[in-house]
Symmetry: C2
């Protein structure tokens, strides 16, 4: 992870002047296409083509070298053979160019050692020179706000699309500029900026997203990425998005196995494990989607930056089937359809005499036909219901005027609203959704994308409120002693035994089993008497991590003789299993009280650092893969959310005659573990608390076994 130097990218996206090294007059060459887009896009600043083979290009003076330019351009594009890139970069540095876009390929994306070496050299060069650059192997930037484009894409070749408030960031040019940006424009969205970052030797998708978030011209950022390289920067940018109330919607490509394979062959992006990415994106308030249309469809509503206060939706429809489809779609995304209040029912009864009890969503089939004013009144009535947070009126086919009024309603509604228009325009076949979306209205053609966007607005609103309240910041519980834990860790270079791991966990407030290390059978018998009742005996050896596998464990041992015999058996089993193992002695331990076995763990993600994992014990983790993840540290709210994500969560609530378990204690321990993982991230490679027994509600929990692996071991 490199912490990028922060730079204001304004002069990259809106340079006062720009040069293109490798500009040509060919309509098929890459350099020719980029040059043509630059000159055709209405850029008000100076453009300097650089090509030693030409004197003039499209009426502009063509220069042999950057050094010959009459001024230092703010932004230089480079489209030359791979082996010449570094010469041009040296020229850029020599004249003091601040921003460079390296279009040329032949770097890490080639998958060859030479390619990777070239890319490392590029990064080093940038760091040394202080220049910031995009690429290599990228497709540049488009700025609709200030009319600057430096890219080869044909997606801006037609009539100039109007600027808007949606920012687009992608690794891939084809996907980002065509499948996402151009298609978003086709449904009526306006784009502020677009960046296709390619191999990201320096500036990455997060830098571009941050620039867009900070610009007044952008209200929402759509990202189609192949991975994230810097988890900390990801967290910072997400935090800033919530602070500014500008959502980031993210599509992570290569989220499946075959996808990952293709991603690896395309750029050098490091794709973290998808489950972890998913959990962390949610944790940081990002909106994750799974295909390109979901990116721009979500933006149709969220670009307005209005956040519902709750999950309650209402709808009025002129057709029955469509209202059922909308209700289904709402349920799919956890949006609720509350019963209307008595006041609303009374108002509706006055409007629709003889209709009877009105259910939500509301099918007005026979009443609504041709009754525009009645429809509008019913809509306003349900919108003012106190239990309704969002309103989704349905329109089938209608006149331009009908549709325009519908769009006006959703735009001016006091509640967050979107119009679901499923049909056509009866008096102007050329009138489409694009006309309404272009004018700023939230209009959908289908129920699913509409309700997906509603849920996203609800989630982002929740997150913004949480962050404003300060509850999005993890709070350090009392009774955690980092220094003591570090002192304990010192002296270990490898694994910690169960006993040692428990000492460390105890320093972070974990309740552990009572236990003592016996070095003789007599000591063991003595300790067993102290503990009382039956005890467990377990080998204590840094070389035997899996004690059960070694057979070096005896449970529920009771009485002096039995304890002495068990001591001998445990030592003997350990000897047989690993003759060379260092043995500290035998741990004499209270038997764990009855409860539900959980597994808590910490793994290290190359991108996001220490990740806390929780699952129910046994088959739930190992076979059913029923686990939840979060990046450390976590808030108590997130710890609770992790538990509710488990399919087996109900097992903690008291089923099949078992009492409910102490979920509060469990959530507290998840938080503590997350701080331990965070505080000692440089020291601990892996950590398992397994089993952690959760006792009856109000009785806490007990660490029965644990394992810690040091970094570098």
């Amino acid at each position: 992870m490199t912490k990028a130097i922060e730079t204001d990218l304004t002069r990259m996206f809106a340079p006062r002047s720009a040069a293109l090294v490798g500009a040509t007059d060919s309509t098929t060459s890459f350099g020719g296409r980029v040059f043509r887009q630059m000159t055709n896009f209405g850029f008000p600043g100076k453009i300097y083509p650089v090509n030693p083979r030409l004197k003039e290009l499209a009426g502009l003076t063509c220069y042999a070298s950057l050094k010959d330019l009459p001024e230092t351009p703010d932004h230089v594009g480079i489209i030359v053979a791979t082996e010449r890139v570094f010469d041009v970069l040296a020229d850029c540095a020599a004249v003091g160019v601040p921003f460079v876009t390296v279009f040329s390929a032949g770097f890490s994306e080639s998958g060859t050692p030479e390619g990777r070496e070239r890319q490392a050299k590029l990064l080093a060069f940038g760091r040394q020179s202080g220049m910031r650059f995009m690429g290599p192997n990228c497709n540049g930037v488009i700025n609709f706000v200030d009319s600057f484009a430096m890219t080869s894409t044909m997606a801006i070749a037609g009539p100039r699309a109007p600027a808007g408030n949606v920012g687009v960031v992608s690794h891939s040019g084809g996907l980002g500029q065509v499948t996402l940006m151009w298609r978003a424009q086709e449904i009526g969205l306006g784009i502020s900026y677009e960046a296709s970052s390619g191999n990201e030797a320096d500036l990455d998708t997060l830098d571009f997203a941050r620039f867009m978030l900070r610009s007044d011209a952008t209200d929402i950022v759509l990202m189609a990425i192949e991975g994230i390289k810097d988890g900390e920067k990801f967290r910072e940018v997400a935090h800033e998005a919530a602070e500014r109330e500008k959502p980031i919607v993210v599509l992570k490509l290569g989220s499946t196995q075959a996808g990952s394979r293709a991603a690896a062959s395309h750029t050098g992006a490091i794709a973290g494990d998808d489950d972890i990415f998913d959990a962390v994106a949610r944790q940081y308030g990002l909106i994750r989607v799974h295909e390109v249309p979901q990116l721009y469809e979500t933006a149709v509503l969220l670009r307005r930056r209005r956040w519902p206060k709750g999950r309650g939706a209402a709808s009025v429809s002129p057709t029955g089937g469509n209202v059922v489809q909308l209700a289904d779609a709402g349920d799919t995304f956890g949006v609720q359809w509350p019963e209307y209040s008595a006041g609303t029912q009374a108002a509706l009864a006055r409007l629709l005499p003889g209709y009877g009890q009105v259910s939500n969503p509301t099918d007005m089939t026979s009443l609504a036909t041709g009754q525009r004013e009645l429809y509008r009144s019913a809509l306003e009535t349900i919108a003012s219901d106190p239990g309704v947070d969002v309103v989704v009126p349905i329109f089938a086919s209608g006149t331009t005027d009908d549709l325009q009024r519908g769009a006006d309603f959703v735009t001016s509604c006091e509640k967050v609203a979107a119009m679901l228009w499923v049909g056509g325009c009866t008096d102007d076949a050329a009138f489409t959704r694009k006309d309404l979306v272009k004018a700023g209205a939230s209009v959908y053609r289908d129920a699913m994308p509409c309700m997906r966007a509603m849920r996203a607005a609800m989630d982002f609103g929740d997150y913004v409120r949480l962050q404003k309240s300060g509850r999005a910041n993890p709070e350090r519980p009392a009774g955690m002693d980092r220094e003591a834990a570090l002192a304990l860790l010192r002296g270990f270079t490898d694994k910690l035994t169960e006993r040692e791991a428990k000492h460390l966990l105890a320093a972070y407030g974990f309740p552990v089993t009572r236990e003592k290390l016996a070095r003789t059978a007599d000591e063991a018998a003595g300790y067993a008497r102290e503990i009382g009742n039956a005890v467990a005996l377990k080998i204590d050896s840094p070389d035997i991590a899996h004690k059960t596998e070694a057979g070096a464990i005896r449970l529920a041992v009771h009485g002096d003789d039995a304890v002495r015999a068990a001591y001998a058996q445990v030592v003997e089993a350990a000897r047989r299993y690993a003759p060379e193992a260092r043995v500290n002695g035998v741990l004499v331990q209270e038997m764990a009280p009855r409860g539900s076995e959980m597994m808590l763990g910490v793994i290290r993600d190359p991108v996001f650092g220490p990740i806390v994992v929780v699952g129910l014990g046994g088959i739930h983790v190992e076979v059913l893969k029923d686990v939840a993840y979060r990046a450390a540290p976590v808030t108590s709210q997130q710890a609770g959310a992790m538990l509710s994500e488990l399919r087996g969560a109900k097992l903690l609530d008291g089923v099949r005659g078992m009492p409910p378990r102490d979920k509060a204690a469990l959530a507290d321990l998840i938080v503590r573990l997350s701080w331990l993982a965070h505080d000692l991230r440089a020291e601990i490679a892996e950590l398992d608390v397994n089993p952690l027994v959760i006792l009856e509600d109000g009785h806490g929990a007990r660490v029965v076994d644990a394992l810690i692996v040091r970094t570098g071991s």
Copy 2:
């Protein structure tokens, strides 16, 4: 369940003459709108408006009554006040009209007792008269093939859309005719017939689907339904679809809770439990989707009726990001991306010198730009790879000619192929996907719908092949004695005890525990000695279904005295639990051998009849809801599929030190249970085999406990 009289609906959809009772000259009234659509749709036959208040309508003679018409029309539409519907129907019957569409509302959809009564009367009238009719509360039929429309929808008001090979069936007019049919036409699909069936007092969506399947004009049927009323007809129609190799794609509205509520208020359709519908639809080879666009997007490919031979896909793309998105989408739907064969690699190496090993899907970014012939050659090369079953070339933006060539490729390709065109047309902005789809090509704008359709084609192909092979027909295993089972059931009117239920299961070939019914403690001790080892003692009473709850069970009892004591305890516990219970005695039973506990059951679905349920025992069924369903009887292939649908299926494969279990025996018992459920469907209301212990592979299984509830009890 009513078995509908089979009728050829040709004269309903393509009448020689049609009358509309309630035709008016008003542009806003329902009758006026339907009449206008009838006359404007180009119908070549005679149209007879019937309205006693008018002499003439749009240049046609208007009749006071059906009895005044010069001939008997094949199809009569009725748009009159609810209370007058029966008078008009009497007129229809009097002149011998074969087909009627009742548009009028006020029947079961009103939710009132009078409405339901009227609907019952309607059905009775139809049965008695022999007339077949659609509705009430429906929106009629549209026949693009023969130019007949009797419907109010504005969706056919514009220029006449060309006929095509896609049939559309829906309960709802708004959803079926606008959201589905009109929108399908907007992307270039042609419709053969459309039917919006409303309340379905007589003809239902399955009747219309069957008519369309049998018509040469239809190659695929899209259904947007709120439920199915007749499970047997559903099976028959699905069977015919596979036989004719014409897929049915089905969207079931009201599949979620809120959706179901709205559905209940819209029509009288009975919505079965959604999990059961889902399982049965799959079992019968239907393609289920979850939103309207998925219906018509699936049809873009499947209307061509070509079925891939396997799951292997390949793609070539001019842009990297899009190929990753396609790979992800393929993985989402279980489509595979096989490595290219050595022969393909060699051919590609000749085409693309220096490119190195080519992976699938193939990103040709730098090579493909402007290299149309090269792209085409690469495409043909991968299409001929023996491991490739389907081909999905990606196009970004291109000229009309480029795009037309792409469409021609996928249409003429020897493999099943679809084109993914994500961008625009560079030389004609008005050229869209609609132009290509209209001409018959399978062209998609987005990766997800494209790969969803590919998977659907693969699944339907598998099902068609299965059905042709005869393996789709459940086969009756040997050793099932229906007569013996019936004889056992006779004499029971209520629940069967464990012992009695096991006798019945044994008659169908289930291996049950060795056991005897003891009536005294001494008998029990004697039986225990016969069985040897430890035994279980359980109360045998028709009035105590839950023996564990009653405490009337003792496990692992060993030795004469212990058995005698246990006998007394079990009897005593039963007395305490249910003093009035009839007690047959105490069952002395061998202890079940070690194995995995499963739950097998039968429930009765009001639509689909007996449904077999399988799940792992304990928390898996009760808490994790990890179960699989099928309608009885099932094939062995389906029994295996049920097991693989369980999330916990891996637990049977030998995890955590347990040996693999006898899954073949388990699958055989699922098949046997399904036949039992089918054979005795009139006799058995509920059946539980719980636990069924599955032993080590090769050692079979053992029924440890079972419960049967008789119908009517």
